[in-house]
Symmetry: C2
Subunit: 171 residues, 2 copies
Amino acid sequence: MSISMSSASLPICATMLSNLGHMLDKAQAFVDDKKCDPAALTQYRLAPDMLPFTRQILIACDAAKNGVARISGVEAPKFDDTETTLAELKARIDKTLAFLKSVPADKLDGTEAKEITFPVGRDASRTMRAEAYLKHWMLPNLFFHLTLVYAILRHNGVELGKKDYLLGAAG
Amino acid sequence: MSISMSSASLPICATMLSNLGHMLDKAQAFVDDKKCDPAALTQYRLAPDMLPFTRQILIACDAAKNGVARISGVEAPKFDDTETTLAELKARIDKTLAFLKSVPADKLDGTEAKEITFPVGRDASRTMRAEAYLKHWMLPNLFFHLTLVYAILRHNGVELGKKDYLLGAAG
């Protein structure tokens, strides 16, 4: 009895990205209700030198997609990062979820000691064992960007609670 | 070869709470440098109906402390939640880290199927198996409150980057 690499990655990524999609639905409802420019949300940054909402979502998606691809060895689709609207961002999440669903659990299981080399910033790379990479890099990154999306929406008045962030947490 | 309950909890909590302490050091340096009222940070909320900085830190600490206590069955110390200053918050993190260090790994290992009942909100409780509780509840909560601390500091001009959040990620 112990935790497998697939169960420590796929369902967490899938649940959290579904919750991210749910938060975008609430953002869309907010924009519709307030009749405001959606760019007020999608281009919002919590600080001038932080990434805007749109990029936070793309990076959250890629944290899951590229992380699972690196660990499993299954090639991930490349996306062009051209999304600007809430609908396009939602579609990006859905494409990422479809990729996650396509990765067989047994490609992830047993990879604990596999060496993963991944880019860090623009000019550097880092190598970690897959188990450490998953627990100490990939998932912390996923939660980080997801929570920044939540923070941006809450800061701008979208009604969300932690239950929206934790929606669908498997019992 | 697979992931143990102790390795999926203790080092992640310890690393992330150490990083939280490091972020508080940067917050203290910011306050000293700007000669501003530290309450401008510690009482800051990203939205009027969100919890302030101080509570985000207490909840992050308790997510780790209470989570590890529930899974391991090791009784956790109770704290009075009276912290208001950055130094007191730092001490709370240190006390939490000391508790985590005191929990033997073998009290956590093998608990995957153990039923954990925990409070949700003020009047409800929920029961999950320990493995699901750790992966889908405890850790997402820890990362959530930690990232909100980061977001509050960044929004207020404290110079932090993702490397501060991911500091000490074990290779």
